[in-house]
């Protein structure tokens, strides 16, 4: 597949109740980029990711991965190169042990059990939860669950990593761990969040979404400091860029 390019052309989507969630988005993400997708609650971030993954299909426009259109027919191929980590790890982990959960993907691709084991142990090692492999996923802490969910996608060796709010509901230490982990991958990354500090640290490029439309698309360090734009889209400039709350000195 040519350089794992991901292209979205004039994408529209309405939910069955006629709610227009995505209205004419277009962008192109190239190999090795890490892109943040930000926007207020209900802006349409999760819907966009579902469209990228082919969980739902656009009512107009198209998504291309490499040179392949995302359609029902090409889904198996698309899903091999795109891995998605869900917003709620509970939706993603459903097997009896962490090991089986991480092995679920590779086994579906009919790899032989030796290779499956190698991939599983490797993925668990990468996210640092090898010691939890025989535990039941529903008994893990929030951060551990998130790590397990990420491992379950990594074991499939995707080219592009798609993540829906990876740091939501994590305590500061776990958040830091997940961020460090994500920075260490050199996959193409697409991350939605309203954790703008995280986006600021991890993504070179940011796409801002407002009511299902793209409000801005550009270099992160320019977009996130644009107080006017952020405010109009229901966001704020990252805390790390705001004035110091104690001494009121300007940071930027």
């Amino acid at each position: 597949m040519s350089h794992h390019k991901l292209e979205v052309k004039d994408l529209h989507y309405s939910y069955p109740d006629d709610h227009k969630a995505v209205k004419g988005m277009s962008f192109c993400i190239y190999h090795g980029e890490s892109v943040g997708i930000i926007g207020a609650n209900g802006a349409g971030k999760s819907t966009l990711l579902m469209l990228l993954m082919g969980v739902i299909f656009p009512s107009q426009g198209e998504v291309c991965v490499g040179d392949v259109h995302v359609t029902k027919k090409t889904l198996p191929m698309i899903r091999k190169s795109l891995g998605m980590v869900f917003q709620d790890p509970d939706d993603q982990l459903f097997m009896n042990t962490v090991y089986d959960d991480v092995a679920f993907g590779p086994r579906n691709y009919k790899l032989d059990e030796k290779e499956v084991e190698k991939r599983v142990l490797n993925a668990l090692e990468l996210v640092g939860i090898l010691h939890l492999k025989d535990r039941a996923p529903f008994k893990l802490s929030g951060g551990e669950k998130r790590a397990a969910a990420i491992a379950s996608v990594l074991s499939m060796h995707p080219d592009i990593l798609v993540m829906d709010e990876p740091t939501a509901a994590l305590d500061p230490k776990s958040r830091r761990k997940v961020m460090k982990l994500l920075t260490s991958f050199n996959h193409t990354k697409i991350i939605t969040s309203h954790d703008l500090d995280m986006i600021f640290e991890m993504c070179d490029r940011t796409i801002v979404i407002k009511n299902g439309e793209i409000a801005a698309d550009g270099v992160t360090s320019e977009i996130l400091v644009n107080a006017e734009l952020m405010d109009a889209c229901g966001l704020e400039i990252p805390l790390s860029l705001q004035n110091c709350p104690v001494c009121r000195t300007k940071k930027v």
Binding site: M50, F86, Q92, N96, F104, G105, N108
Partner: protein, 269 residues
């Protein structure tokens, strides 16, 4: 409230138990399945008035319990859960079948005998099924079913039902928690809220089931539930099955307690 959360944790105890590594756990899943199936068939084949002949079949669960190092309490609890149904089915027998039956010195109605027989048979079969799950695990069991060429749609149905039960339970727990926190002085749920709670539950469970299914599809799920490679069937696995099958056959054909009894009385004479 605490009960629900507890049962949520307990529900997966069978899966936890299935992860142990005892002699029984290490046996090939297909052989355990076959053993259980033959056990069930033989136990069910006994006549309505038979109790004595069933007694040797207690040996099987006792052996498995011991060899697999399973705790008796959680499994016994699960048998109790189904006991109301069994009693419900059997309890009418003593009324319909009033004919006398001589037991030692006393005459009792034959209905009580059939009731006892039903109770014993159901107890044995339910125990055997639970033991199979607790020593094999649902996933490997599904694999064994597939090896027996059971159509994959049925196996999948079984597995997903088993999975979704926990999804449903989790949603129940969340809804009840939210409710009880805002209705602290109330025992249970007031009936004015039943309707909306039940509606919520169905919608939420659908939603979650949908998302889980999507997550499965995204990881290449295409209708076949792969549970990892299969071990070869060793001679030992096969002999486990054949050994039990022989025992069941013999115990079915000869009334062992009676034989032993007559043997002893014969020796005494």
């Amino acid at each position: 409230m605490a009960n629900i959360m507890n049962s949520l944790y307990n529900m997966r105890i069978l899966d936890d138990l299935a992860r142990q590594e005892t002699v029984i756990h290490k046996l090939h899943s297909l052989m355990k399945l076959l053993t259980t199936v033959s056990y069930l068939t033989v136990v069910v084949s006994f006549g309505r008035y038979e109790i004595g002949g069933l007694l040797p079949f207690l040996i099987y669960p006792v052996m498995v319990f011991t060899l697999a190092e399973l705790p008796v309490k959680p499994i016994l609890l699960r048998i109790l859960i189904v006991s109301p149904f069994i009693i419900g089915i059997g309890i009418l027998n003593p009324f319909f079948d009033q004919q006398g039956y001589l037991l030692g010195e006393r005459v009792i109605s034959r209905g009580w005998i059939t009731f006892g027989s039903i109770l014993l048979k159901s107890g044995l079969t339910v125990t055997a099924a639970l033991l199979l799950i607790a020593t094999t695990g649902m996933d490997r069991l599904a694999g064994a079913l597939r090896m027996m060429k059971i159509p994959r749609i049925f196996v999948l149905q079984l597995l997903l039902t088993y999975r979704y039960i926990s999804v449903l339970m989790e949603e129940v727990a969340r809804i009840l928690r939210a409710y009880s926190l805002r209705a602290p002085n109330q025992k249970g749920v007031h009936r004015s809220a039943w309707g909306s709670l039940a509606g919520q539950l169905i919608l939420r469970t659908f939603d979650r089931a949908q998302r889980i299914y999507e997550a499965m599809c995204l990881r290449g799920f295409a209708g076949e539930y792969n549970t990892g490679g299969f071990k070869e069937i060793r001679a030992w696995d096969l002999s486990y099955f054949i050994g039990w099958a022989l025992f069941f056959a013999v115990a079915r054909m000869y009334n062992i307690p009676m034989l032993i009894g007559s043997l002893i009385t014969g020796v005494i004479k």
